[in-house]
Symmetry: C2
Subunit: 398 residues, 2 copies
């Protein structure tokens, strides 16, 4: 027995095999994907409408012996179609296993990990820097931490609008030489849209790479795709997940200068995009009218819901996305009948999150500074929106 | 005009935005995926048989509105089924977008990038080291380069068998303290299988992490999965691509100690495995008999082809995989009719690669030391094997 214990004692301890950087890492927490009967799921910005019938048919008829073969490694069919759509070359495009994969690759491709000696000088630190505005996509700081990069998180204006280069210069925290700057546009989680002109003036001021993360661009009045084809240091990120109802199949893409795209291809997994995802995305591009009609419906529901919740005392940030960011009414706003009643009216955003959840409506609440007072609500179908308003009224009456 | 030029001159040069490490990187070159009518494709080790009919049906009936939703982020259904199959816990398993994704994540999770100051001492260098035997999967050195790790490539024995720990100690190049050691077992590209006992004695000698890359284990007489559940520093990598005819859908997995697996989950993309891939893999596990029958057919064809090519003067490495590694006959071996005829007989492996390609049979040839004299030929159907032998005879007669 002692001999066996000695042998085991000689085996490496698994925890010590893990890099300290990874041991310390606080991972990204995705929204829940519960499977609950009758749940109205408005927490992860999925499109309420299914993919076009032709997309579903294309997948069904491709479920055959071809599955045994590797997919096209560079998603050529899809890149050619996208290039035609945007008037650029396939060399301007790289397709990813969702845009998340590409965001992660961008950090590895353009940002030095910080233990390098050069990080001790300001210019050296900039080469190790992932910069972003807050609040925005909460994945960016995790990607930076995972890589050992320096994070530079700079707040948006209090109304979630984009600070101008002049404001950023005055604030002195922003780095115009940061290796990589992520800008979520339209912004998530606030839903606020940014003008292409203001994005362009920020891009022109940056000396490092800028990724304009347009995961929700199809729901907005403007998009900044032209900037990726105009500037050699600007990449636009897009996805088929939200606008094109293909979350399940993981297809996103970057558009940018061919040299940047070629560098990303070098670190891409050989077969990073599954074949049915490629096919579904290609077929999607043949049926854009179907999706445009859905965007119209989602925008109409967004407007209706914005009006209804505003009337009920919520502050609703003007949205250019398929979700709205809302601050529940102040307790005092609903004091009808004196202090006793007031105590039973709506509480914090967190209280609202649980109150809605109890009533089978799942929304997203972020326990983070700047956004703790808000709920993010995905725009569902009109009937889901009506149910939400009904439930909100019930909660307010409690 | 001069003013416009000045403005452009101020824009960042895209090449300078790319990390020097990535600029220097020689990327991995996957096998070709040509779409040529009538081509017999024996170059990327795909299974010649389609997935089970139930798998295809499951995909067809899942092509519906669910595609708009995110897939299960941690592939729970699949992990539970795999855990049941192997008698372990779901916490022992992580599913990847193909096993390539997981191999890449292992480097980021367990190996320090080398610019760190500690790399100057031997122990520090070991923490930055990706070690592997050559020849093996040619992705490993690329993953190391991509991460800025130190590569330690140590040759297999000349017959592609595994050196024992004693041999490795004598050779002095092998590092028992390397942060991460990849062992392809059965070996690719040679096809040679390794006994679990010899793998175990090597694992017991290693102080760093060992990944046993078992992409082809289902075609072998033995596998080393038990080692991943026995040792806290051993991970086994598997894939649904080859044995289960699902290359197109990108599903692989790692099995190992829960602490190692948990660390990998931390750096995983939130939704890294597409939903139809998860479903196809789950359904596959309900029909293992269908696949066992295919493994039997592939082993039988492998044996027949080995015999035929051996008779024609090829040296065929004994294979435990769904491919064979063959050295074409020496020119002199086919001298029938004096020196004039000899000049027209078969030449180098490279010549053979092109001669087969001209006749619409695509195999793989690696222009690398140790393997330049060999061709790697995937085991296809019996009729593809017969055609290959017929074409080889034709070439030998030329």
């Amino acid at each position: 027995m002692p001999r066996v214990q000695l042998q085991n004692a000689r085996l490496p301890c698994p925890n010590r095999l893990i890099r300290p950087l990874i041991r310390r890492l606080q991972p990204y927490v995705p929204g829940e994907q519960p499977k609950v009967e009758g749940l109205i799921k408005l927490n992860t910005n999925e499109n309420p409408y299914p993919p076009a019938p032709s997309v579903l048919r294309a997948i069904r008829s491709a479920a055959d012996a071809r599955l045994r073969l590797y997919p096209n490694p560079t998603a050529d069919g899809l890149r050619y179609k996208l290039a035609k759509l945007y008037g650029c070359a396939p060399e301007n495009i790289i397709v990813g296993n969702g845009s998340d994969e590409l965001l992660e690759m961008a950090v590895r491709c353009f940002v030095e990990p910080s233990p390098c000696a050069s990080a001790r000088t300001p210019a050296g630190a900039a080469r190790c820097m992932v910069q972003y505005l807050t609040p925005s996509y909460s994945l960016y700081p995790v990607l930076a931490d995972m890589h050992g990069a320096i994070k530079n998180a700079v707040p948006l204006n209090p109304d979630f609008s984009l600070p101008s280069p002049q404001q950023l210069r005055r604030g002195s925290r922003w780095r115009f030489d940061a290796a990589l700057t992520f800008i979520t546009t339209p912004n998530a989680p606030s839903g606020r849209g940014y003008r292409t002109a203001e994005l362009e003036s920020l891009c022109r001021a940056q000396r490092g790479l800028v990724v304009l993360d347009e995961a929700y661009a199809e729901f907005a009045d403007e998009n900044a795709l032209a900037l990726a084809l105009k500037y050699p240091h600007v990449i636009v990120s897009r996805t088929f997940s939200k606008a094109y109802s293909l979350c399940f199949l993981r297809v996103g893409y970057f558009i940018g200068h061919p040299e940047l795209i070629a560098a990303l291809h070098k670190i891409r997994d050989s077969y990073n995009v599954n074949g049915l995802g490629q096919l579904a995305a290609e077929t999607t591009l043949d049926h854009l009218d179907y999706y445009s009609a859905n965007f119209g419906k989602i925008r109409a529901t967004r407007q209706w819901l914005t009006e209804q919740l505003t009337q009920l005392g919520f502050h609703v940030v003007p949205s250019q996305t398929n979700f709205i960011f809302v601050r529940p009414p102040d307790r005092t706003a609903h004091q009808r009948g004196g202090p006793n009643k007031a105590a039973r009216t709506s509480g914090s955003a967190e209280d609202w999150y649980y109150a809605l959840r109890e009533r089978k409506i799942l929304v997203r609440w972020f326990d983070q500074p700047q956004v703790r007072d808000y709920l993010r609500i995905t725009i569902g179908t009109p009937s889901q929106a009506r149910r939400l308003v009904q439930v909100v009224r019930e909660i307010l009456r409690c």
